[in-house]
Every structure is written in C-alpha cells, then in structure tokens.
Symmetry: C2
Subunit: 322 residues, 2 copies
C-alpha cells in the first residue's frame, strides 16, 4: 500500500549520507512516496541545523499531510528545543492521520507530545539506522533489506494492521535474588497506557512539564552506551519520584553497547534488574525487542494496551483486546 | 591543630589501596588522628560493601564524634541507599561539630542532608583522590604532598578559618554569542545559599525528595567524563524545572575527562555556556576551581554566602560578609 513518508531531522546531523540514501531507496522500493525535508541533511555543529532550522523542520513535517513523519536519525538536539514546538500543530497533524515515528533522542518529542496533547506517536525505527543499514545486502536491483521484523511492524503500522507484539523473556539466572512472584506467575492486565522509550531521555525530563503524568501505565525502557550502574541510577530516580511504583508493568527492552570492567566484580545488568524487583511490587519484564538493535518492534506511545504474561512468554496488544 | 578524622566508604569499593594508605599517612603527617571505619576497604561487586554495610558505615561516621568524616572515594552507590540514611543522626553529628566532606557521588548525600535537615556539609576532597595522589613525591620521610591549595582549604575548614574563595574566570572567546551583560559587569549579591556539586548526581535527584528546594541560591556544578552535549542535556533539565532561573548565580566548576569528536564540528563546552547564558538572566560564572581536579577549593554546601564579581575576578565568601 503506497504511503506518503516525510523524512526530517529534528536531532543530530546526518553524517552517514550513504545510509540515508539506502533508507530512502528501500522505502521507495517498498512502493512509498518519500518526501525529504529541505533541511534533512543540514548541519550546524553536531545538530541537523540550528534550533530554528530543526523547529521549522518539525513543523513542516506536521504540515506535510504525510502518512508517516519519520526521523532521519536520533543523536541529541530535541531537548533544547522542546519549548519551541507548537504542540497544537503536531496534535492536529496526528488527528489528520500523520504517524510520527522515531527512537532514542526522539523520546523527548514523544514524551512532550503525550504530556501536552495526549496524542499517540510511535516508538520505532529511524530512517538511517532502521532502513539504511543491516540485514541482507543489495543484489539484482533489490536494495539492501533491513530487519524483517522491524519492516513487518512498520508495514503493520502504516496499514493499521499492527495490533500487538509478543516476545519471550530472558531465562532467570539461578542467582541469589529470586524474581518476584508477580514476575513468574501468569497474569493479565489491561487498559494501561503504553509509554516510555530511551531511559536517559525519559529521566532527563523528570521534574519538567514534558514528562507525561501516567498512572497505571505500561512503561517500556531501552538504552545504549550506558553502563548498568548508570542504568540503575536513572531507574533509581524514577523509583524515588514514584513513577515506577505507579505503573502496572515495567518492560525492559534492549540495553546495548556498554562495557563491564574489572571494577564491577559481578555487578551487571541482571544485578540491576534483580535490585529493581526488590524495590517495587510492579512486575518487571525483560527482553522486549525494542532498543538500539536491528530487530525491533513498534510501540504506540500513548495508546491503551493489555498485557498477558505466562511464564517467560509475554504478549502486549492494543488492537482488539478481548 | 590535631583533629580526629574518620575515614569511611559510602560509595564505590576502594581498589587503589596504595592511594588509600598514602592519604592516611599524609593526614597523620599533618598531625591528625585518623580513624578508619572497619568496612572502609570492604568490597561487594562495585560497591564498598553491600547496601546495609555502607549504611552502617555512614551511621558509624555520624556516631564517631570525629571532627571530620571524610569519604575514601566517590564512584557510585549513595543514590540507592538514600532511603536508608537516618538523617536525624547525621544532623546531630553535624550539630556536635562533625564536618562531612566529600565529592562526586557524595553530592547525593549532601543534597539529601540539605533537603532533609538544612545542615551544612562540605564539598571538597576524598581521601584517595585528594590526599592519596598527585602533587610532590615523597622524600626524606615526608609523604607525597597533595595539592597545596586543596590542603590549605582543608586546613582552613578544620581550623574554622576558611571564609571564602576567589578565582579568575575564563577569558571570553571572541565568539559570536556574547556573554550576558550581567556576566561582564561588576556586581555583588548576598545572603545566598551555596549548593550544588556533581551535575549528573544533582540532575539524578530532580523530582525526588532528596533535591533541596533552594531559591535565590548560588549553584555550583562540576562533572567528569561527560561530553558537553550531555552536560547541556542535564543543564536543560535544571532549566526546564525552573531550578536555574530561580538562583542568584550559577558557578561552573571544572568539567574534565571528556573527548570531543569529529561529529561535534565546533560544538564544545563553551557552546554550552553560551547557550545557557542565552536562556537565563542569572549570571553564569566560569572556572570555579572545584571538580575532579587536583587544585580544588572547599565549599560549605548549605551555608549562606556573598558573591562579588568584577570583570573576570570572582570572590565567594561566607565568613564575615561586610
């Protein structure tokens, strides 16, 4: 199904222009009309243009009438322009049918939009990292294919078919701290708002008007390049503000690209999960296929969902809960 | 003047035991009685003992009756035990004359003590990094000497002579964004609470009960190993919560041990300072000699102070404002 996809750059400058081009070609190969924002490849210091340029790009994306507004990449840059976004323009675009999709730094935008308008945006790929890299190499005129699951989820979203996602949690280590019973047992919960994204970005919004006040939600988290002790410190902030204990479930996604050191002496991401489970009664699920990895699902941030857990199997669905 | 100094480890495990011993010897050489907490060298994963061990160490330091309770080192570990600290015991110790001194991760303790009790603690050295390393090598039976200024400030604190600190700000680059007039002009402000410390730690307390609610204060900040874009993101959080604009002055200390990359293309710490000055009317001063550097002053966190600025020269004093 041919869709109109608008590519823009609200955060970091695109340096890997080959990945950008590959991503555009892949979307075109899939039959879509790809419109590229005039400043999508702009560069000002580490940003994709100065603050005014990036704000204008966001507002052009909102005015584009596209089916999907897809960021070129994450990086850093949205936080400092949150004050300048016209949230009403964004919510009108969403109501007209534009789906805003992105990841990483984009979490700042998604949280701000949810806080200011209550509208749904999608946690999913960026153009360069999602459609421009990885997967099968190009051959016989077929562009390099990105990850199947990611692309299937993207297709589900644009066709309105995507109604949920299932995954298998990590096997519990035989460690000394047992998982909470809530985690092991089978349970089902419903009518809970899906929200979250990049943990560092989320924590950086605590105390500001850009963090939505979601009670009884399903909070999903991922991060990249952050040592587990930093993950723990960020989670502790969410814990001490009461955000974690007021959710119905915490979904830990993929935490990647960090290095343990000899100083850690056994402290690792699993230690953090165990510690977190000792602090709250809310179930903490692991291994959600979302984060800075090729194989990632798409999640409708701001939409109500149900969650069914049976042992290691988890199913999150927002389509036709029944 | 002989003082009783209690050494304890509330955060990371001490791995550099030679630095620990050098620090102890240096304090003894200066004539002090050094008492070492029984768990000062304990290790549990990356921590100086498990949570209960480190909490007990803090409470032993508070009960020690020492003149100074000095941390062995920073690292990470205080955030997750803030709930377990008996703040009344700490405030009683401070009222009896124990000065709590530390840096880095210790900011979490200092902020929590200020929030819960209003008591003053000192931002200053840790044993290992402050007294155990650097400066002149050992010779003729005299232990390796740490930085003169740091040691002078420590001596001033324990003798009650320390009444302030002066420094020279960085020269403004001829850059495109001029400093705010407030920064250039001569001005004086008074009756402002000194507070702050490590920026990452401070931001990690936003939204929690452990960040003191200080209006009209003098906020000082430092950090280590954080790229300027991360510094900016943390400052943006403080900006968006209103913390920065409600202070009388922001003192930027030393930001060290980060690497700029080719992606930055001119974005650097100075860009962050310029941007910050464009966002708030509060004067933003630079180059406060405090942070993860040898030459650092000591600052009484929670004490009222005056600040006098004339061009690049700055003087902060809390002794006999007149």
């Amino acid at each position: 199904m041919k869709k109109h996809i608008y590519i823009y750059s609200p955060s970091g400058a695109v340096r890997d222009k080959a990945a950008f081009r590959r991503g555009v070609r892949r979307l075109q190969f899939l039959g879509h009309e790809v419109e590229i924002d005039p400043d999508a490849l702009s560069s000002h210091m580490r940003f994709a243009g100065d603050d005014a340029t990036r704000l204008a790009a966001i507002h052009r994306a909102a005015a584009s009438g596209a089916d999907v507004a897809l960021i070129s990449r994450g990086g850093y840059g949205l936080t400092r322009i949150l004050d300048g976004i016209r949230y009403k323009a964004v919510s009108k675009a969403i109501e007209r049918g534009t789906q805003f999709v992105g990841i990483s730094d984009f979490t700042a935008f998604q949280m701000a939009v949810l806080a200011k308008t209550g509208c749904t945006t999608w946690a999913g790929p960026a153009l360069c990292e999602g459609f421009g890299v990885g997967g099968k190499p190009a051959q016989n005129g077929v562009p390099a294919a990105p990850d199947d699951i990611m692309e299937d989820c993207f297709n589900d979203m644009i066709t309105g078919q995507g109604e949920g996602t299932g995954w298998r949690q990590l096997r519990e280590a035989s460690g000394d701290t047992p998982a909470t019973p809530e985690h092991r047992a089978a349970f089902r919960l419903g009518n809970a708002t899906i929200w979250g994204g990049n943990l560092t970005m989320l924590a950086s919004l605590v105390g500001t008007e850009y963090l939505p006040d979601i009670k009884g939600g399903i909070l999903f988290l991922e991060d990249v390049g952050e040592h587990p002790y930093r993950i723990e410190r960020l989670l502790t902030q969410l814990l001490h503000t009461g955000v974690l204990s007021s959710q119905k479930a915490i979904l830990m996604g993929q935490f990647t690209d960090y290095k343990l050191s000899s100083h850690d002496k056994g402290f690792k991401l699993e230690s953090v999960i165990q510690w977190l489970r000792s602090q709250i009664k809310v179930p903490v699920l692991t291994n959600l296929p979302y984060g800075h990895v090729d194989t990632k699902v798409m999640l409708p941030v701001g939409t109500k969902a149900d969650l069914v857990v049976e042992g290691r199997e988890a199913l999150l669905f927002w389509g036709h809960p029944g």
